[in-house]
């Protein structure tokens, strides 16, 4: 307001700002990733004991199957599994991008902040000791969310001395996550009956995911994803550090707590459906950062789309190579762990 005392400019200042090339390529990249997801989904559905050509898949999807049993394979088995993969990928990617932003730590992700471990332990306890939950069902995400929130909040408050410190947050998350995972393993020993099933939870698997799983998941995505994307501006300001953000008029503690809760909500509900699929929430946001930069308004949607593509691709590889006998979490860990080491190595060097 008081700045308006200067000499009137010959040209509005706004017109002098050069267009941001990162912003210009955001939309084409986003659309390209979405198209890639569609194409991959068609190939993905074609894959399996009975393999279908893309044409047969499309025909079955639009309810004009070439053979009657194609409809069953596509609609009852492979299509819902693919949709669960896409939704879970998007949710874990968004959660990872938010956690990386609010902790100002590139090594943060749902699995590295203890949130996944908390959600898994709560789910595993629920499955083992609360009979109505044994078969999963729509109540499980609430249990997982409770676990994720409790662990997330514990990590958050443990890391808070006067003001929350990003590095403490990540370190506490990793430590607490390790403790909780051993807790889940102990449950496993006592519940031999369901042990095989529970192991899949710890690794994360899409095997046998059908419409009932998708129907449990989508309301959470419908709430969490728009909420996360709407808070991108808050995340951007928070990312400049507590003092700068306070100076800009942000209520830092409230913004951080809110974003943390949204990330936990996304991650926990996804984990409740498929288990703790590791590293995907770390890698997706990193690739997205390379593509569209650090601005959360582009990073968050891009992370959702890229991570969805990554998870679908990982499950595609699992199906193609092992015929689905390996859980998808095994392959994401196999590909993700070296990437994690590379990030640490690069950080140490810098």
């Amino acid at each position: 307001m008081s700045l308006s005392t200067g000499v009137a400019p010959e040209k509005p200042f706004a017109e002098k700002i050069p267009a941001n090339p990162l912003a210009r390529r955001f939309l084409p990249l986003l659309v390209a990733c979405l198209l890639a997801i569609v194409v991959l989904l068609i190939l993905y559905i074609g894959l399996g004991t009975v393999s279908l050509s893309p044409g047969e898949v499309i025909a079955a999807l639009v309810n004009q199957p070439v053979e009657t049993f194609h409809r069953q394979i596509v609609w009852d088995l492979r299509f819902p599994r693919g949709l669960v993969a896409i939704l879970v990928g998007a949710m874990l990617g968004l959660a990872g991008a938010i956690l990386q932003t609010i902790t100002r730590n590139p090594l943060a992700s749902p699995d590295l902040t203890g949130v996944s471990a908390g959600a898994v332990l709560a789910s595993v306890l629920g499955i083992a000791f609360i009979p109505p939950l044994a078969a999963g069902g729509p109540a499980l995400p609430f249990v997982a969310l409770a676990g994720g929130v409790v662990v997330g909040a514990t990590v958050y408050f443990l890391s808070r001395q006067g003001r929350s410190d990003p590095l403490r947050l990540a370190l506490n998350g990793i430590l607490l996550g390790a403790i909780l995972n051993s807790g889940s393993s102990i449950v496993l020993i006592f519940d031999q009956e369901r042990a095989a099933n529970i192991v899949l939870w710890l690794i994360g698997s899409l095997n046998g995911r059908v419409w009932s799983h998708f129907n449990t998941l989508w309301p959470w995505a419908l709430v969490g994803i728009p909420l996360a994307l709407g808070c991108a501006g808050l995340a951007n300001t928070l990312n400049l550090g507590d003092d700068v953000a306070t100076g800009l008029g942000q209520n830092v503690e409230r913004a951080r707590a809110g974003l943390f809760f949204i990330a936990v909500l996304l991650a926990s509900s996804a984990v409740a459906i498929v288990g703790a699929i590791g590293f995907i929430g770390l890698i997706g946001p990193h690739i997205s950062r390379r593509l569209v930069g650090d601005d959360a308004r582009r990073l968050l949607p891009m992370s959702a789309v890229v991570t969805a593509l990554l998870l679908l691709l990982s499950d595609f590889i699992v199906q193609a190579i092992t015929k689905g006998s390996l859980p998808v979490g095994a392959i994401t860990a196999l590909l993700g762990a070296p990437f994690f080491l590379y990030l640490i190595f690069r950080r140490v060097k810098a």
């Binding site: 307001m1 200042f13 050069p18 006067g162 300001t237 990312n239 400049l240 550090g241 100076g247 650090d294």
Partner: protein
């Protein structure tokens, strides 16, 4: 410990009402520190509109603490800060941010963030986080980039800039806030001498051409004397000297506050005082001096 020295050292008392016309900001009897550790107690200071005020003093004197306390980056234990006559604690966060911008010491941003994206954040208090940037926002961002000479590298990531360029980008962020008052905490730290002067010249220009009231913590006394209208000297949490550079930069003040003996000469070009240190005062001598 601060109170013992208070009486013996020269104290400039300013009539503090907090609501004085012409005062951009005022701190009244503020008590502030980190957690339980109190750095400043019962300190009062009035910032006059349209001036560059430099807060100087040795390490641990409380100059940064004072700046942070006045800018609500540190919570006050007691006392009041007024912004243009209004109590800070009674104002909304965004309302404060539309009138007072503050650049903390050595700020950090994500490495890949571009200058333009950083400066955009300055509009945070003007537009809600959900709302898109409007025409006047783009105008303010463009102006901030132009004033700081960062327009040409608006699309470069911060990590690819020199220290001086980066600091100018951060100052542009505070300018996009379009506030009449600007606080800078050691804006020249970690910069080489050329870039230090670049930043200080920019500060002088903002004050002259835009009429901004600027308060900055500076380490270098000569630079403070060169660029500020008023120097406020702190020592152990108390203000021990306050006035125009020529009044404050005296052998007496330098000896008592910084424990050095120095010649004071006047820079023929600017008419501002410059000090040339020649000896360190031994501790016993300081004790006797008091």
């Amino acid at each position: 410990m601060g109170s013992d020295n208070k009486t013996s050292l020269r104290e400039i008392s300013t009539t503090i009402t907090g609501k004085t016309r012409g005062a951009a900001m005022a701190a009244e009897n503020v008590r502030v520190g980190y957690g339980e550790k109190i750095i400043l107690s019962e300190l009062s200071l009035e910032i006059r509109r349209g001036e560059i005020t430099a807060l100087v003093g040795p390490n641990g004197s409380g100059k940064s603490t004072l700046l942070k306390g006045m800018a609500r980056l540190l919570k006050l234990h007691s006392g009041t800060v007024f912004l243009e006559g209004e109590e800070l604690t009674k104002m909304a966060n965004s309302e404060i941010a539309r009138r007072l911008a503050v650049l903390p010491q050595a700020p950090t941003a994500p490495a890949g963030l571009t200058v333009g994206e950083l400066v955009e954040q300055g509009r945070y208090p003007h537009a809600g986080p959900m709302r898109m940037l409007r025409k006047q926002d783009h105008e303010a961002i463009g102006r901030a980039l132009e004033l700081t000479g960062t327009l040409e590298f608006a699309n470069r990531p911060l990590e690819n800039l020199s220290g001086g360029e980066r600091q100018r980008a951060w100052i542009a962020l505070t300018l996009a806030q379009a506030t009449p008052v600007l606080f800078l905490d050691e804006p020249t730290t970690f910069l080489d001498i050329g870039h230090q002067l670049e930043v200080l010249e920019l500060v002088g220009q903002l004050n002259r051409e835009q009429g901004m009231t600027i308060v900055m913590v500076l380490h270098d006394l000569n630079q403070a004397a060169q660029y500020a209208h008023r120097m406020v000297v702190l020592r152990k949490g108390s203000i021990v000297a306050d006035g125009a550079p020529a009044e404050v930069m005296t052998g007496e003040v330098l000896e008592k506050v910084f424990n050095i003996k120095a010649h004071i000469v006047t820079d023929p070009a600017s008419g501002r005082p410059v000090f040339l240190p020649y000896a360190v005062v031994k501790n016993e001598e300081v004790g006797r001096g008091q």
